[in-house]
Amino acid sequence: MSALRESLGFLTSRLRQVGIFVALILIVLLFQGLTGGILLEPQNVSNLVVQNSYILILAIGMVMVIIAGHIDLSVGSIAGFIGAVAGVMIVHWGWAWWLAIPACLLVGALVGAWQGYWIAYVGIPAFIVTLAGMLIFRGLTLITLKNQQITPFPAELRALGGGFLPDISGGTSVLEWLTVILGVGATVALLIQALKERRIRKKFDLENEPMAWFATKTTFIALLMLIITFLLASYRGTPIVLIVLAVLVIVYTALMNNSVFGRHTYAIGGNLHAAELSGVKTKAVTFRLFVNMGVLAALAGLVFTARLNSAQPAGGTGFELDSIAAAFIGGAAVQGGIGTVAGAMIGGLIMGVLNNGMSILGLGTDYQQLIKGLVLLLAVGFDIFNKNRSGGGGGSTLGKRFKLRTTPPASTESKPPAGNEAPAQERPVPVSAAKPE
């Protein structure tokens, strides 16, 4: 009984993380029902991964930018621009894919450096710089493409968008065995990692998840991975882009949790001044975040172009909104300091399943947009409602709600209200106030 209560208490304290995960599963089940089972057919699962891969790649960079307290509205245009550049390099100039891909990523880095310079060193808000970037790079896309699409791309590049890992059985088996090996291997690795993490937390006397919840969650995730493995293996195997994405998620999760750079990103989003006064090179961190975003946007552009087998003038339009929505649905905080790569991935998948499910049902983009907008609003609304409640405050003002969002219980004391914005140095100071006798 006490174990159950403990688990329930834990669940309520993590309602956000658990909630978003449960929401994804419910949405999957809902559309599985509505589409009469088409959603989870092997071919559709494979499509789902490939169709959403570029949004998920963008969401990784986007959640990092948001954690640091910024935003990037230009990623869609950058992705389109890089698609155009790839078209020129590969189709017009005849560059090999192994040369063109690094070159495109480099162009992405330069684009990111350009924006990062204005944001970090000149101090223009990211919203403005990337809004400008959205226009600038869309313009450059049109100029590069001379308003016409470039096609076709060689098979090597197309593999990035629609290719699969080779079939090692030589086409004799129903299942793609390489996929099975990878999927089972990844599941085992995940289990080992989870157990190790738990042991370490115990050793260092840190709060651990209740055993019942831990076991349920881990078993569930492992099962889910095995099911997806099976589904992919019974179609054409593992999409190459899924491997790319998996590597990115692992690397960036480690980067955000365990690297100095990642820690500094959380620090500047949580409290810029405190980070600065702790010796964090805040400008350099911001600059690098946007360079990173540029590279990921370039990669997303390449994957998208490869999938369409064409560089198009309107390529990438609206990607920024999907990736921003993914980050926020995944639990990132508007004012920075909070968010995870894994959360952004789940957020992205929710958007992806909605897109895919509604397309199968034959809903037009009109309804799709309407529903996606409502989902974003509800997800963040739920977030704020939840944090308000755990804060125990019946805060009536909007400002209070926002504060509660960052620091739950003691939040009303955590940030001075706007009225006290006079620089600390200019504050009158009490002199010899308490004279002890």
Binding site: G279, P408, A424, A433
Partner: protein, 509 residues
């Protein structure tokens, strides 16, 4: 006078994992000034939030009777309707709006939806006269001092026909003169029949104004002392707050002072916006191994400005000056450089500049020296936890674990996290700016003990403080600053509040 205006009975408020208030009782008589004392984290602010409806009536246990009627507030506006107004420690005024607009913010003097500016300004002027503030009501709030802003807050409370005024550490950011005015005003309002509850750490103020003092410790009511029964004495209050007699407010020290560690020479700083204004003029000072050096000065003397300018140019523009460590000139032009040279600066405003409040204790502690934890390119999280646990123990940080969010800690514990952060960066020189601001008596003693220990370990410590007794209690030598000039250097043996004040007010020719 023995008619209660407010009775709070059996108030219990729980946060996840913490019992913030436990069966608290508070009785306030009509027309009195009632002080609430207690250490930081004792539950004073929580109690006031319960009273004013910040925490809605179903989120805690117990009952509140105001003017003999039960109160079930679900928001601040409910309590304000009944005449209970709370003024928070951190003022809630909008800097760009005028005094009059601020006073009537949310309560606009309007006719058919349109603001009646004549009435707004006239009524505001009347209220300003009542609080003794001679400012034009159309002046933007950002142009008046914090002391006057505090008066505007009170005027705003009066505009709501306040019966019970709650002031949460009203003088924390005020100088002596403004504090005096404010306390006089509270007494003046008492004469007009307004009951006040005042939360304060400053015992001399409490003795000046309070008719009764309720002491809260660890979320429980300890006792209520009454002036007319002769119970309000400093000793009695301190004993109630810390649960023991404080024999000494400062720890014993046996200073072992060694060679000079840091010397600042001829340092000048210009104001960041107004470049014609020099904030620090050719300041020179030094600090030696094992020594605690104080920087005393009135508001605008340039103490924080000097420290922050030396610490990575985080304030203004430095126009002249050199910094020497062990006789060698060092570069402190960025925070990272300053830290690399073994300098640490703990800011006076820990919430805004010292801590990442949404992050946990261990990540705050590791922030200034994260690279020390890097193994093979990655931060060693286990080592980080070990380090943080070490500081939790040695600094006596009261928290369930080092994974606790710093925003939930009390002021004293937050300050200990800040100090841990800088100790982990292993500095030779620590500059502590107002290390005990907003911290209660018991935690202050702990901070002083930590400072003494740091000095005993051979660190050079510079303490910036506005509380002269504190400087006299812990320093070996005190510099005074006045209007940006170093006006005196006083060995502790010769120092007294009078001599320091003399130098602090000295005009440089």
């Amino acid at each position: 006078m023995n008619t209660p205006i407010l009775q709070m009975r059996g108030i219990t408020k729980t946060f996840p994992g913490v019992k913030a208030l436990q069966d608290v009782t508070l009785d306030v008589q009509r027309g009195e000034v009632h002080a609430i004392c207690g250490e930081n984290g004792a539950g004073k602010s929580t109690l006031m939030k319960v009273l004013s409806g910040v925490y809605p009536h179903n989120s805690f246990e117990g009952e509140i009777l105001f003017e003999d009627e039960p109160c079930n507030f679900s928001s601040i506006s409910d309590s304000e309707k009944r005449g209970i107004v709370i003024i928070h420690q951190e003022l809630a005024l909008s800097p760009y709006l005028s005094i009059a607009e601020n006073i009537y913010l949310g309560n606009e003097q309007a006719k058919n939806g349109w603001v009646d500016w004549r009435k707004t300004n006239l009524e505001a002027a009347k209220l300003l006269a009542r609080v003794g503030l001679s400012e034009n009501p159309i002046t933007p709030v950002q142009h008046i001092s914090v002391g006057k802003q505090q008066l505007v807050e009170i005027a705003k409370a009066l505009s709501k026909e306040v019966k019970l005024l709650i002031l949460d550490e009203p003088t924390a950011a005020l100088n002596d003169e403004d504090s005096g005015h404010l306390l006089d005003l509270i007494l003046h309002l008492k004469g007009q029949g307004i009951t006040s509850i005042i939360i304060s750490h400053k015992l001399n103020e409490i003795r000046k104004v309070a008719d009764a003092v309720t002491i809260i410790r660890d979320g429980k009511t300890i006792e209520t002392l009454r002036l007319d029964e002769g119970q309000i004495t400093q000793e009695r209050i301190i004993r109630g707050m810390v649960g023991r007699d404080l024999e000494s407010l400062y720890p014993e020290r046996d200073p072992k002072i060694g060679e000079e560690v840091l010397r600042i020479e001829d340092w000048s700083v210009r104001h960041p916006q107004d470049h014609t204004r020099t904030v620090v003029h050719n300041a020179s000072l030094n600090v030696r191994k094992g020594e605690v050096v104080g920087l005393a000065g009135l508001m605008g003397a340039g103490r924080t400005e000097l420290a922050m300018s030396v610490f990575g140019r985080t304030y203004g523009t430095a126009t002249s000056g050199k910094v020497y460590k062990y006789g060698q000139e060092i570069n402190t032009s960025t925070v990272a450089e300053a830290i690399r040279h073994g300098i640490a600066y703990a800011t006076e405003d820990r919430k805004r500049y010292g801590l990442n409040l949404i992050e946990d204790i261990k990540r705050n502690i590791s922030m200034a020296a994260l690279r020390k934890l890097v193994k093979g390119g990655w931060v060693d999280k286990n080592q980080e936890t070990v380090v943080a646990n070490g500081y939790r123990k040695s600094m006596n940080i009261k928290a369930p674990s080092v994974a606790a969010i710093t925003g939930k800690l009390s002021g004293g514990n937050q300050q200990k996290v800040v100090l841990s952060k800088w100790m982990f960066s292993d500095p030779d020189v620590l500059i502590l700016d107002e290390p005990t601001r907003g911290i209660d008596v018991g935690a202050k003693f702990e901070i002083y003990t930590i400072i003494a220990r740091l000095a005993a370990e051979g660190k050079a410590v510079i303490v910036i403080s506005s509380e002269l007794p504190e400087l006299l209690g812990i320093c070996d030598r005190i510099y005074t600053l006045s209007a940006g000039h170093v006006t005196g250097e006083v060995p502790i043996a010769e120092a007294s509040q009078e001599t320091l004040m003399h130098y602090m007010t000295k005009e440089k020719e």
